[in-house]
């Protein structure tokens, strides 16, 4: 894919010298990274390296964890998201999230998608909402499979469909950034392929960051890769370079399966 890294416009999201603590324990050390619309960024690294923690600081989901503390700057369109003036509820609408385990609401497929637009007042009428639901499901690649059973429960879908429903639910509120926390780890290869295809299609429209344990997946879906190890950002760069010519030995060991 295209890899023009030099854009003069400010990045959609930028993290500068971010430290994250859980109580006394430091989970993230001095991480600086940029997320933008023109590329998908993959966070890789062994379990417990802090990549999910870092992802969750980007939309302040860590606020719900008791004792979690963030230092450093994380900006969305130049605004610090940890600034007291930032409304965290709106931030989470602008920076949507897809979780490791598909977690549709135990409501109908339609209501799953419509919930976000409803609470944010994005639809003025039932017809508006219908349009939003249809377009979100189309973009999530799920419309053809569920259009005749929108009233069925979202939890009755297969795992892969549920995950696409969750992606559709996230994009229905028109976020600017989508964070995906190992979205395929609970899915079979066919469902995984569909999600990866979907990520390709969503790129450009949304800034996407994805955490994954699967090296091939990182290589397939991302244009940038960040390798985390023990809470530090070891290496960060263009995906093809990281996978073919890593600068650091630790990165090389990890992507070749020496550890992790």
């Amino acid at each position: 894919m295209t890899e023009q890294t030099t854009s003069s416009a400010p990045p959609k999201m930028a993290a500068r010298h971010v430290n994250v603590f859980y109580g006394d324990k430091q989970a993230i050390r001095d991480v600086s990274i940029e997320i933008d619309n023109d590329h998908v960024i993959a966070f890789i690294g062994p379990s417990g390296c802090g990549k999910s923690t870092f992802l969750r600081t980007l939309n302040r989901m860590n606020d719900t964890v008791a004792g979690a503390r963030v230092e450093g700057d994380i900006t969305l369109d130049g605004e610090n998201i940890y600034d007291p003036s930032m409304d965290v509820v709106q931030l989470r609408a602008r920076v949507g999230m897809v979780f490791q385990k598909p977690n549709p609401f135990p409501k109908s497929i339609y209501d799953n998608i419509a919930y976000g637009p409803r609470i944010h007042g994005l639809a003025n009428s039932k017809a508006d909402l219908d349009v939003i639901v249809e377009s979100a499901l189309r973009r999530a690649g799920l419309w053809d499979e569920v259009k005749d059973r929108l009233k069925d429960s979202g939890t009755a879908l297969s795992g892969g469909q549920q995950q696409r429903l969750c992606i559709g639910r996230a994009i229905a509120v028109e976020p600017e950034v989508i964070l995906m926390d190992e979205p395929c780890s609970a899915l079979d290869p066919i469902a995984t392929a569909k999600i990866e295809e979907l990520i390709h299609e969503l790129r450009g429209r949304y800034a996407i960051a994805i955490v994954t344990h699967n090296m091939q997946q990182a290589a397939r879906v991302s244009q940038r890769t960040a390798f985390f190890h023990l809470g530090t950002l070891v290496e960060y760069g263009v995906t093809s370079e990281i996978f073919t010519n890593p600068r650091e030995d630790r990165t090389k060991d990890y992507i070749t399966g020496r550890y992790g």
């Binding site: 939309n59 989901m61 719900t64 008791a66 509820v89 709106q90 931030l91 989470r92 609408a93 602008r94 949507g96 999230m97 897809v98 979780f99 385990k101 977690n103 549709p104 609401f105 135990p106 409501k107 109908s108 919930y115 976000g116 609470i119 944010h120 429960s153 939890t155 969750c166 639910r169 996230a170 229905a172 509120v173």
Partner: protein
């Protein structure tokens, strides 16, 4: 193979003999334990079922006759009776008042004496004239002619009819029966009247309505407060020493003897706040204090059981904490909360002691019109009747227990229906 074994005992271990005698014995012992456990479980189920069956059979055996009464047919010759009633006055709403001044008790007694021989007025209930009054009110035209009315028998005769009377009453009943005067009928007044001194006149409606109003007050107060407290404690409150203390206190409250809640109600609601004595309002408030801890505990457990992934999902698309709670957590926890509420309410419905303290054991002969009217409740009514000397109250007590059990059954059925409905909504 190349490295030596870490421990010599490992290499010296005898291979397990899966077919050996010791192993067979162990397997047999395991099966015996399994069978024993199943038998004990079955036995305990049978034992509880037996107790329940015994309770139901004895209640139904004693109580069903309480729903019937003995009636004696008495002929009235109204045109010649010593009474003057203008039929025109009976139109409209004040027929009862007009008839109350119409000398009906004397008319009834005379008619009974005429029909049943001297002393006949003692065989019918002292309030039988009320039946006559109702008959006239319903059909004023009988004043112009002779009519045969079925009047409730006196308590003695009623007992004799149910083979529990004194020898004298039995003899009187036998005579009546020979004369073809007596019949058995459904005791409708038992379901529509309130407490009385004469067992043939008592009814359960007053206590039933009192229970209904009390439960309503309890539910309206304890359910929202209990659920909100549970939600706050689970979703918002920080985990620290204070919340730990609150948790311990709530658990303790759920186990406090109910009589203490009664004393509290007496001191706070009656003495300090001067709320009306014996009223369902005060009863409901006291019961709500008792029920609330149960709802809080059940509610917290139900809320805890909601998967965190649902909270994450809602927060992740920008739902505010309140929206997360009311759109997702509460609906998912509601079936569990309702189960706890059913348990708490059922306990409150059967509670007597705290209500004695706040004066709901008074003799109240008319059903309460609202939550501030004096009233009693079913279990207290049962307690009061079981204390009565007159033998006629025995079957009324059992009948009241049947009504209470049916009330409980109805309440639980509604709650379980609602719970299942909420569970099926998604």
């Amino acid at each position: 193979m190349t490295s030596p074994p870490p421990d010599e005992t490992l290499t010296r271990r005898i291979p397990t003999d899966w077919k050996g005698q010791a192993m067979q014995r162990r397997i047999a012992a395991r099966y015996r334990a399994e069978r024993r456990f199943r038998l004990i479980g079955l036995a305990s189920i049978l034992l509880s079922a037996g107790f329940l069956a015994f309770l139901l059979v004895s209640m139904l055996g004693n109580g069903l006759s309480g729903f019937t009464r003995t009636e004696i047919a008495v002929k009235f010759d109204f045109p010649r009776a010593p009474m003057v009633v203008d039929p025109a006055m009976l139109e409209g709403g004040n027929a009862d008042q007009v008839l109350a001044g119409a000398n009906l008790p004397v008319v009834t007694a005379q008619a009974a004496n005429a029909a049943l021989g001297e002393g006949g007025d003692a065989l019918i209930s002292s309030n039988a004239w009320l039946t006559v009054r109702d008959a006239i009110r319903d059909d004023p035209s009988i004043l112009q002619r002779e009519a045969v009315l079925s009047l409730p028998a006196s308590a003695d005769i009623d007992l004799a009819a149910k083979s529990q009377g004194t020898a004298q009453a039995e003899a009187a009943y036998a005579r009546l029966k020979q004369g073809g005067h007596v019949s058995r009928a459904i005791n409708m007044p038992f379901l529509t009247a309130s407490d009385a001194t004469d067992p043939t006149q008592v009814g359960i409606w007053g206590a039933f309505k009192g229970s209904l109003l009390t439960m309503l007050v309890t539910l309206l107060l304890s359910f929202p407060v209990g659920v909100l407290a549970a939600l706050y404690l689970e979703e918002y409150a920080p985990r620290n020493r204070w919340t730990d203390m609150i948790e311990v206190s709530i658990n303790n409250l759920a186990a406090v003897p109910s009589i203490i809640f009664g004393l509290l109600g007496l001191a706070v609601f009656l003495n300090m706040m001067h709320l009306p004595r014996s009223a369902p309002l005060v009863g409901g408030l006291t019961m709500a204090l008792m029920t609330m801890p149960v709802i809080v505990i059940a509610g917290r457990n139900a809320i805890k059981a909601v998967p965190p992934s649902i909270r994450d999902a809602a927060l992740g698309i920008g739902a505010s904490p309140v929206q997360v709670v009311f759109h997702h957590v509460l609906p998912l926890a509601l079936p569990g909360i309702m189960t706890g509420t059913i348990i708490g309410m059922a306990r409150a419905l059967g509670e007597t002691a705290p209500l004695l303290m706040i004066g709901m054991r008074a003799f109240i002969a008319s059903p309460p019109g609202g939550v501030t009217d004096p009233a009693t409740v079913l279990p207290v009514q049962i307690f009061l009747w079981s204390d009565e000397i007159s033998k006629g109250f025995v079957e009324k007590t059992s009948a009241a227990i049947i009504v209470l059990l049916l009330f409980l059954l109805g309440m639980n059925s509604i709650a379980i229906y609602l719970r299942n409905k909420f569970e099926k909504r998604w």
